[in-house]
């Protein structure tokens, strides 16, 4: 089973990198770009075949290592 984990800064946490990327896009002439937020994508292969158990295990991975839940949110996609 494969999973994709999206990690983003929580709403309300200032994202200086996203802000700089937004400014660079504006400088390149892209009009109408609103707020830009930068995050991380982590792809994981799992031996587990049960989606429920896989999701539970991935949730624990996020809580314990992959995300810092003080400043980050995570989303888990099982991709097949």
């Amino acid at each position: 089973m494969r999973a994709r984990i999206h990690i983003t800064l929580k709403h309300g946490v200032l994202d200086p990198q996203g802000k700089a990327v937004g400014q660079a896009l504006a400088a390149l002439g892209f009009a109408g770009v609103g707020e830009v937020r930068q995050g991380k994508v982590i792809d994981i292969e799992l031996a587990e075949t049960d989606p429920g158990r896989a999701r539970e295990s991935l949730r624990e991975m996020c809580e314990r290592l992959l995300a810092n839940t003080v400043i980050e949110d995570y989303e888990i996609d099982l991709t097949g």
């Binding site: 946490v13 200032l14 200086p16 990198q17 700089a20 290592l65 992959l66 810092n68 003080v70 400043i71």
Partner: protein, 221 residues
Amino acid sequence: MKTAVIVFPGSNCDRDSAVAVEAATGRAPAMVWHGEAALPPVDLIVIPGGFAYGDYLRSGAMAAHSPVMREVAAKARAGVAVLGICNGFQVLTEAGLLPGALMRNAGLRFICRDVALSVERDDTIFTRRYRAGATVTMPVAHNDGNYVADGETVARLEGEGLVAFRYRENPNGSTAAIAGILDPARRILGLMPHPERAADSVLGGTDGRALFEGLADSLAA
């Protein structure tokens, strides 16, 4: 006073920390590699600055889960003093030994210069050789020094007097200009500035020396 300095792959202030500790205590610290599962009997553990594990994932995230950190957490629970400097502060937050997180500097630049700090209290094992309210100068050298915590945590830190050092001029966007914090028992200090890089006049400053001397006074065996 017996000290252990933890060494991760990518630590780069471990030797400076050891020199500062030895100058203050007369005893060379044990240098303990991150893969060790046990620590010698010590009164102080220093988690030094650097870029442990290349800052992979997040600064301090991998180091926080290395084998030696389980032992550091156990010793901390038993009352052993812990000093985390710069990357060491990041490791302590990632390990859950101190609250909050250190984010990318608000200005997105790596900051490497001397900064003025206010000493917030002088009744701790780390700050007893300073005077509360005094201004001291130490260098910072970090990309991720922007201290962030939720409102409740910051209110608790302020209310319980757990802010040890504050920037006189906030260089990195830290909440409430926080440069260093203590755990509720005031036996763990994490700070972004480098006292060990200001512990000898040949380094350009000596304001950091008092921190190590204060520890030597407090923890003299």
